[in-house]
Symmetry: C2
Subunit: 207 residues, 2 copies
Amino acid sequence: MNSVHSMATARRDRLKAELRNEILAAARDLFARQGYESVSIRKIAEKCGCAPGTIYLHFEDKDQILSAICAETFAILKQRMAAISKDSGDPLERLRRSGRQYIQFGVDHPYHYIVTFGVAPGAPANKSDADHQAGMECFQSLRECVQSCQQAGQLRFADVEEVAQALWATTHGIVMLLITKAGFPFVEQTRLIETTLDMAIEGIRAR
Amino acid sequence: MNSVHSMATARRDRLKAELRNEILAAARDLFARQGYESVSIRKIAEKCGCAPGTIYLHFEDKDQILSAICAETFAILKQRMAAISKDSGDPLERLRRSGRQYIQFGVDHPYHYIVTFGVAPGAPANKSDADHQAGMECFQSLRECVQSCQQAGQLRFADVEEVAQALWATTHGIVMLLITKAGFPFVEQTRLIETTLDMAIEGIRAR
DNA sequence: GCACATAATGAACAGTGTTCATTCCATGGC
DNA sequence: GCCATGGAATGAACACTGTTCATTATGTGC
């Protein structure tokens, strides 16, 4: 074979990519239904009709499967956040929508959120840089929203970075609470989220 | 033996409680250092010099060990929070001190905090009632602080529970961020904490 | 038809949480 | 002192986990 891009090679690659997608689809469904820890490689293999070992031809390890799913999902979040940050209208209201979007995303995709933002401190070397990169890009949109609020003179604070980080803490906090303390008798979720957003927005608004 | 409370029985009970505490101590240390998932029953058993099976004479399962540790941490925090909630002075300022104390506790005891508040999701049917109870009691002080703010007419919101939970989310968020994202280029820590507290307090203050 | 490269396999390995028949041993009665 | 008793401790065993790797199958190019 003198060419790397023969007809047959292309076909093989397509088939390989197909199985990869089947594995991802199976894993996505099982993770969402039963949680990451409860889903074994063998369960994923069975669901997509291949042997356990085969999965390791497509993914380095179990974590990489979750990472791949996260990458997909976070691409969506990044897109939504970026879209909002480019909207017109009152900057503070844009900031509120941005926060709402962020929180909603975390609540809707708890496992993806945990992997990217909720890693334990003791873990050595932790997750891949790609995971962090995706998360940081989402934060950038929030930063831009705060920036435009300040430029419109609507901020009570001088330091944009400071406010952006405080807002991140707030939204991150409510997501983590709702995710990890699901058993706690929280007030109705939407109402709690709106109150938190209101508190945060009114807390940074210029007087 | 005609009495259930003989001298010998008391001694046996004391020895049993001692081993229980040794197991807890070993588990607390290992969980904090390596994380819940990475610590096996056998590792705990080895560290406190007993057989794996012995642990199941003192705890129903691995989750129950974590629950017991969480209870301890809740107790410490509850004590500190309760002390502040009984202080005198401006209610909103008391609330600010309360939040500061909570955040400081988390930052000072990152591993305990993580073990108690940062557990992964997906737990089937979630935690025991004992965990809920401990959490409620700990949260009660914050609730009381918010309550007295409202009674003093200093609250912009009507629902005390709602505000208390939103404040919890905010403080929890900054603790988790500072702990789990230690590598992120945060603004100077004290300044970030004070800004966040300021944002929250000003966000709920009556106009 | 044959050789070759790659994909797929599934048994095997070291680990996990948990169980349970067995052993140990301090205690109480004689 | 000796023995029976009952709870505490054991550790082998079970069914599972993520992961590896020698082996097998399969589609491709000549």
